[in-house]
Point group: none
Chain length 211, copies 2
DNA sequence: TCGACAATCACATGATCATGTGAGATCACT
DNA sequence: AGTGATCTCACATGATCATGTGATTGTCGA
């Protein structure tokens, strides 16, 4: 069954180009291409919802980012791909947080746009490589702050993993085929190294990436 | 000028296949393909550094994630692409935080791997669509977690927060000025709702964003 | 007004944990 | 040969937790 796409883009040339291209595909149709979020919302109230909407950020009237929120709120099943010239981190993250499932730069070729739509509907998340790079860098900055190294031995790491999995001493002992007293001994040492004194704190530290 | 790639992968078949494919490209060479991080580090000490290294996570000896850290520390200019079967969020984010610049699943085709290397060296960041999806979802969860539905009542959330802070029942009772038996009662209900039966599991769920 | 649910508290018991003390085995490095 | 780190195991005790079985109060909506 052909999937249905919609477009919100204020540049008529680009809008028409994409719409015509998508609409001529066997596995896609594109019955709606408008130049503002407001028009798209009007359209959605009177027509069946498309599977995916390509959306610009810079638009007359409501911004595309605000539009994501509105549309996702009323029609959570519609997937939204941002298609824009902006590649600054601020706008990218705002769009993703608002609910966009993909983020393509405007120089993306028509066949790539088509591929992106299909990938998205197949459970993927299309991103231009430059965008992906920024997203990843963001991750790395996030955690490079707290680089608390902890010197746990391999065996101690095993034990920590057991704790994180919610296992009791006995279950950990069984998993690694050692005595429960050995588990106790390891945990004692782990507590000393991490300066904690409960399973809970170890699990918390581990899941916060501090181990 | 042809770019230089290296491979760390313990499955000889896969390793050889990728190496031969990359090495036969005009714009790439792949002079080194080893089956452990340790060997790659030895290699790096005696040869010019490659531009990019493809790395598995599950390896004999040191894990690929630890390997990322070591290699990026000594050779920060080497780009690293994870190439693995793991698609659970935990491993993905750990790898990205450790310094990986791309993350591909192992079913990626040889031409796609090549494309990914070239894109990476061109400033992009290759990710399998499924991976990109998880990364994006992570963003969305981050900001909209207040609304994340969990049948827990406000008071029960308080108790969970206490647990996450590593408090004992008594300390939680003091913090909220209620009886320890009330804390017990709440925790009983929380366990029922979350289908768990230990503090550890509640903390894990909470920190994983599942509450 | 009646039921559903949230929040509070109590008593009880067996399981699990935290901690102390001690010790043998292996391996690496000096 | 000796030192140190790691991993292993044992015994013991008081603290904390998990779970069962109650009960009272207040709020909210049917």
């Amino acid at each position: 069954m052909a999937s249905v796409a919609g477009i919100v883009e204020d540049n008529k040339k680009i809008r028409d180009l994409i719409q015509r291209y998508l609409d001529m595909q066997d596995d896609l149709s594109c019955p709606v291409a408008v130049d503002s979020v407001e028009e798209m919302i009007d359209y959605l109230e009177e027509h069946p919802a498309p599977d995916v909407i390509l959306m610009d950020i810079q638009l007359p009237g409501m911004s595309g980012i605000k539009g994501i929120g509105l549309i996702k709120e009323k029609y959570p099943d519609i997937e939204i791909i941002m298609l824009t010239v902006y590649h600054d981190s601020h706008k990218i993250f705002k769009a993703l947080r608002a609910g966009a499932s993909g983020y393509l730069l405007k120089h993306t070729s028509l066949p790539e746009i088509k591929e992106s739509i299909l990938k998205l509907l197949d459970g993927g998340a299309p991103m231009s490589p430059q965008i992906a790079r920024k997203v990843i860098t963001h991750f790395q900055d996030d955690s490079a702050k707290k680089n608390a190294e902890s010197d746990l031995t391999p065996r101690e790491h095993d034990i920590v993993n057991g704790l994180v999995d919610g296992l009791s001493y006995k279950m950990i002992a069984d998993r690694y085929d050692i005595s429960i007293d050995t588990v106790r001994a390891h945990i004692r040492n782990i507590y000393k190294k991490l300066h904690v004194n409960s399973k809970a704190e170890v699990i918390a530290k581990s899941l916060k990436g501090e181990i």
